[in-house]
Symmetry: C2
Subunit: 309 residues, 2 copies
């Protein structure tokens, strides 16, 4: 409905950020995560990472952000202060500033504690990154072990006690993208695997680039803790949300170098090559399973967890 | 707290929109109005007018908008369709497009029906408009009879039945500003009198420009209906919200021409010169009352109505 009513050429591209004139990229996200604080972050950190990452995924440096707070009357100011400090810290990592803001305080019951919208403007440092760019033979990487944010929110919300902690991967990705670009890598497509997880990104890419993406199940990095939670609860880690993990498509010549550059970052020590683009079946994602079978990896339908971000 | 944590030179200017490099203006607003539909508009129209007007108030043409919807699970799709159509119509009036969007559906009880954030990017067509620009002798105008939006929301929410209807002034202001600029007017300061009403704008200006603003009570246009509601309920129309009424400061030479240009628009037939900048008392607003007395018109403290926009 929204795409139809608001139709225009820029919106139709369905990229992480809208590419405007003069190399400007523009993106928006609203954050409704519950609980406000989780292992590895809070709604404030998430709100800055989310929008800055969308800009970084277009090869842009995050520069100017706006923020809109919708606050439930009576919310403890100390909570808001902690969240604001998280935002400040994350802005510094991105070298971005908040230049416009809005605050609405609404009566109790009109909103659950706190929602934040951030919108951001970035300047392209590497042109031509697009979900429509992937060619047969291109290599697919993930920057980190997957599904940690989704698993972490689920654990926090359901009060599951674990002997080992699962921390959200929530992180700012611009420094990683800058390192790739400065290292001579030319990313063909980049996308952070948020709602819908890695499966959603791969399906969007296969569709937009009109190719097949084949991934090797045994190459996909997943921590034992996340694997355990997924087995107990029957979740597929490929469709769980990430908030600091991206998928990268590069030409075969760039793949090994990209992997090496990524692995220098503490948050990317588990970066891995997980598959490649082929011509096996147009617009499809295939998972080559550990048992030697080929399974379709479909676009996740609906959301398995509301208020994940 | 937010200004302190996010401190930077652009944010410190406290304008309606942030002026970035290359004549770009950036602004954000979240909309939580209740009820979603009111006489003269709905949350969709309001969300486009609000952000486009903030850009127009900086002398900028609204160009690119982002939109974030936070939707309560179970909201009737027909409601959302009507709201989306209102947005589309208002975007066309501004010649703007939505290029980035985000949708969150949250469980029942996490949000009251629907909140919308819009952020916008505009391109400056008239430079130098600023709340810091007003000099002694400058003339102050309002574009429309005041306080209609606030009165309308109050009436809608409280279910007050009136023999004559009060309609919100909710409207896109860019066409008016363009007419002023094309007509040779050089606005010194422009601000739409939203939350806090005309009193808030005048106090912000007196403070930012380090001057006194004196307004003539009998020159302020207020409809009989709004006057009646305010008398019954004890509201001061000077602090009630507007959503399509702006305050304009111009040099004395421009005042009469500006008034004539504005009055050509159907929504501005009640435009009026209401006062001027003087050196009577720095950073103060004085109301010269109908009884010949001088009253201080203070900055409104708090909000008299929550969820007005």
């Amino acid at each position: 409905m929204f795409f139809k009513s608001f139709a225009n050429d820029i919106l139709a591209k369905s990229e992480d950020g809208a590419v405007l004139e003069d190399g400007i990229v523009f993106s928006t996200d609203s954050f409704t995560v519950s609980p406000l604080f989780f292992a590895g972050g809070d709604i404030g950190k998430l709100s800055i990472c989310g929008t800055c990452n969308d800009l970084a995924m277009m090869g842009a440096k995050p520069k100017y952000l706006s923020v809109g707070f919708i606050i439930e009357e009576g919310l403890d100011v100390a909570i808001l202060e902690t969240i604001t400090e998280s935002m400040k810290k994350e802005l510094e990592i991105n070298g971005a500033v908040i230049v416009s803001g809005d605050t609405k305080v609404v009566p109790k019951g009109s909103v659950d504690k706190l929602f934040i919208n951030t919108s951001g403007i970035g300047k392209i440092e590497c042109e031509g990154i697009s979900c429509q760019n992937i060619d047969e033979g291109d290599i697919i990487l993930v920057s980190c072990d997957i599904a940690r944010h989704g698993a972490c929110i689920f654990v926090a919300r359901e009060g599951i006690e674990l002997s080992s902690d699962i921390k959200s991967d929530c992180a700012s990705l611009y420094p990683l993208i800058k390192a790739l670009i400065d290292g001579g890598i030319k990313p063909k497509a980049l996308r952070d695997a948020t709602r819908g997880g890695v499966a959603a990104v791969l399906n969007e890419w296969a569709n937009s680039s009109d190719i097949c993406i084949e991934v090797e199940e045994n190459a996909i990095p997943i921590s034992d803790e996340v694997k355990g939670i997924c087995e107990i609860l029957g979740f597929d880690p490929m469709i769980l949300a990430n908030e600091g993990t991206f998928v990268l498509a590069v030409s075969p010549n760039d793949a090994q170098k990209a992997l090496e550059l990524l692995r220098k970052f503490e948050i990317c020590t588990n970066a891995a090559i997980i598959g490649k683009a082929t011509n096996a079946m147009k617009k499809k994602v295939i998972l080559n399973s550990n048992y030697g079978t080929k399974k379709p990896l479909d676009m996740p339908s609906g959301e398995i967890l509301p208020r994940i971000c």
